[in-house]
């Protein structure tokens, strides 16, 4: 900075450490709780240091489940969440990139109408159309299926806009050059446009994967079978209203497991994630 400070950068370090502490404390506590036995937690005698029940709790969580209202092991839930997040992320990218391609690289009647039809869906979040959508999915016989979990969430106006913006910046000469080489629309898309969009797709994947993994209201409504529920739903069902019956170590182990995949994606792909976030502005 500009002037000399008496204490150097002491204040920023202190403030940032306080911030890190605020952000990390709840998660540290969850991890600690997942390694202790239920009785000491239920008594309010929880220690702030990790206990010795790590393996026991996590094995039970992953493969057995609690004796509470949901009896499904968390392994199944993790699998369901993974299928849902991957399908939503890849599906959104797939259908968005081809529709953006059509809108940018072709002239056809109703082109702009279709663009606006997609664009306006930005304003219709699943929360506000929840019951009619539920009814439609029920009528289509898609309750308790992966298709029902993912299809209604798979359209993405943001991804379409992003790819459209990106295609606009691709120089026309590239298309002309590949035309001279005798490439048709498929060859051009596959050999030129896709490789150019690789980083955009990766950044988008990070955000969409997290979005899919963290879905809550939709799976809450349309899954009734325990073996179809995602980890986000399972965790709520584990909290029994009476404190004595909730197996807190298992709940906290589930919380830790539910956090791991999306947090790992963010931390490992930080650069891509930040760029994707700033580009999509959401």
């Amino acid at each position: 900075m500009v002037e000399h400070r008496k204490f150097g950068n002491l204040l920023p370090h202190l403030v940032l450490w306080a911030g890190v502490l605020i952000v990390a404390f709840p998660v540290y506590l969850a991890f600690v709780a997942s390694t202790q036995d239920n009785a000491s937690i239920a008594n309010g005698q929880m220690s702030l240091l990790p206990g010795g029940h790590f393996l026991e709790t996590y094995t039970k969580t992953l493969f057995v489940g609690t004796s509470g209202t949901t009896r499904e092991p968390v392994g199944t839930m993790l699998f369901n969440s993974m299928v849902m997040a991957m399908t939503i992320a890849l599906g959104k990218i797939g259908i968005s990139i081809i529709s953006a391609y059509a809108i940018v690289y072709f002239r056809f009647p109703f082109r702009m109408t279709i663009f606006w039809l997609i664009f306006i869906t930005l304003m219709l979040p699943v929360e506000v159309r929840i019951y009619p959508t539920y009814k439609i999915v029920a009528d289509l016989n898609l309750l308790d299926s992966y298709a029902g979990l993912t299809l209604p969430l798979i359209a993405s106006a943001t991804a379409t806009l992003l790819f459209r913006q990106f295609f606009m910046t691709v120089p026309d000469e590239l298309l002309e050059a590949s035309r001279i080489d005798g490439a048709g629309p498929f060859r051009f898309f596959w050999d030129t446009l896709l490789p150019l969009s690789r980083t955009n797709m990766a950044a988008l994947f990070v955000i969409l994967f997290i979005l899919g993994w963290n879905q809550y209201l939709w799976p809450l409504l349309i899954t009734t079978r325990d073996d179809m529920q995602t980890i986000q739903i399972g965790i709520r069902k584990m909290i029994v209203t009476s404190d004595a019956l909730t197996e807190w170590p298992v709940v906290m182990a589930t919380a830790v497991l539910a956090m791991l995949p999306p947090v790992a994606v963010v931390v490992l792909m930080q650069k891509l994630f930040v760029r994707g976030l700033v580009e999509t502005e959401k």
Binding site: E127, I136, R236
Partner: protein, 293 residues
């Protein structure tokens, strides 16, 4: 803006937009239309007949003190969540903007809550503040505060706001940091040479230059507080005690779930859609967009 070089094909572009269009029509427009139609209908108590009632559902809703309270509550929550998470995130971003040793380390440790799902956030916070076994609740009790969010509506509301703001800090932090790094160092140095102290520099130069970011984040935070707090509320309080934490979105869910009043639930959805459209339009109108249409 139009591409000069395009492909000529009659059928292909339609095939390419078909998947997206099909999903959008079936899962967005159809249900949204259904919600609008439903909001003008009223069912009798047995669900045997439906009558077209024009705006009766809306009129009833707006005359309902419960609904009015939910509107006020939702706005109060949004305000509290946005204010607390924005100010804390701004403070952290200003500190992290300096050339510090270990800045990547701090950044990594500060951004990951973005990836934590709202229900998980709810579970973490209810565990810390559970009146009988929570670590923080014990501390509060030791300080002589009668802490019981299961019975006290204000405390339950505070709990939701804390948890929701906690999750949003990382997102705001990222955008503030990006905004701060876009401010040219020379402007700040010039002010320093003129003798402006750090606080003065912050309020007269940095803060105004940051205002587009702040405005954008306010809109995003309000949308977040409206919709994404659902998972937090549902895991922590389920709208209780005595509806003290029932927001507009939660009310759509709980009114519809009880099944009693589909017409009212649909009217609520339509009003929410109106609010989202207004917020989005606002955002487009006032915030600098990189996207041009």
């Amino acid at each position: 803006m139009l591409k000069q070089a395009v492909f000529q094909s009659k059928l292909l572009p339609y095939l390419l937009v078909l998947p997206q269009l099909a999903v959008v029509l079936v899962f967005f427009y159809w249900p949204a239309g259904q919600a609008v139609i439903q909001s003008f209908l009223m069912q009798d108590a047995f669900g045997l007949s439906t009558v077209f009632v024009w705006f009766d559902n809306y009129r009833e809703l707006l005359a309902d003190p419960d609904y009015f309270a939910a509107i006020l509550r939702t706005f109060a929550f949004s305000f509290a969540i946005a204010l607390s998470s924005l100010s804390l995130a701004l403070l952290l971003a200003v500190m992290a903007d300096r050339p510090l040793r270990g800045s990547t380390f701090y950044r990594t440790l500060l951004i990951w809550p973005y990836a934590v799902a709202p229900p998980v956030v709810g579970v973490l916070w209810i565990f810390m503040l559970n009146p009988s076994l929570g670590v923080i609740a014990h501390g509060l009790r030791a300080l002589g505060i009668d802490w019981n969010p299961l019975l006290d509506g204000h405390q339950a509301a505070l709990l939701i706001i804390l948890a929701a703001a906690w999750k949003q800090i990382s997102y705001n932090f990222l955008f503030f940091l990006a905004g701060l790094q876009a401010i040219p160092a020379s402007v700040i140095e010039a002010a320093a040479i003129d003798g402006a102290r750090p606080m003065r520099r912050f309020w007269t130069i940095i803060f105004p230059l940051l205002s587009p970011t702040i405005f954008f984040l306010i809109v995003v935070n309000v949308v977040y507080a409206f919709f994404e707090t659902f998972g937090i509320i549902d895991t922590m309080t389920r709208g209780g005690p005595a509806k003290a934490t029932e927001t507009l979105v939660y009310k759509v869910y709980s009114d519809g779930l009880l099944g009693g009043n589909l017409g009212s639930s649909a009217a609520q959805s339509v009003i929410l859609m109106g609010i989202v459209i207004a917020l989005t339009a606002f955002q487009f109108r006032f915030v600098e967009r990189k996207v041009n249409y």
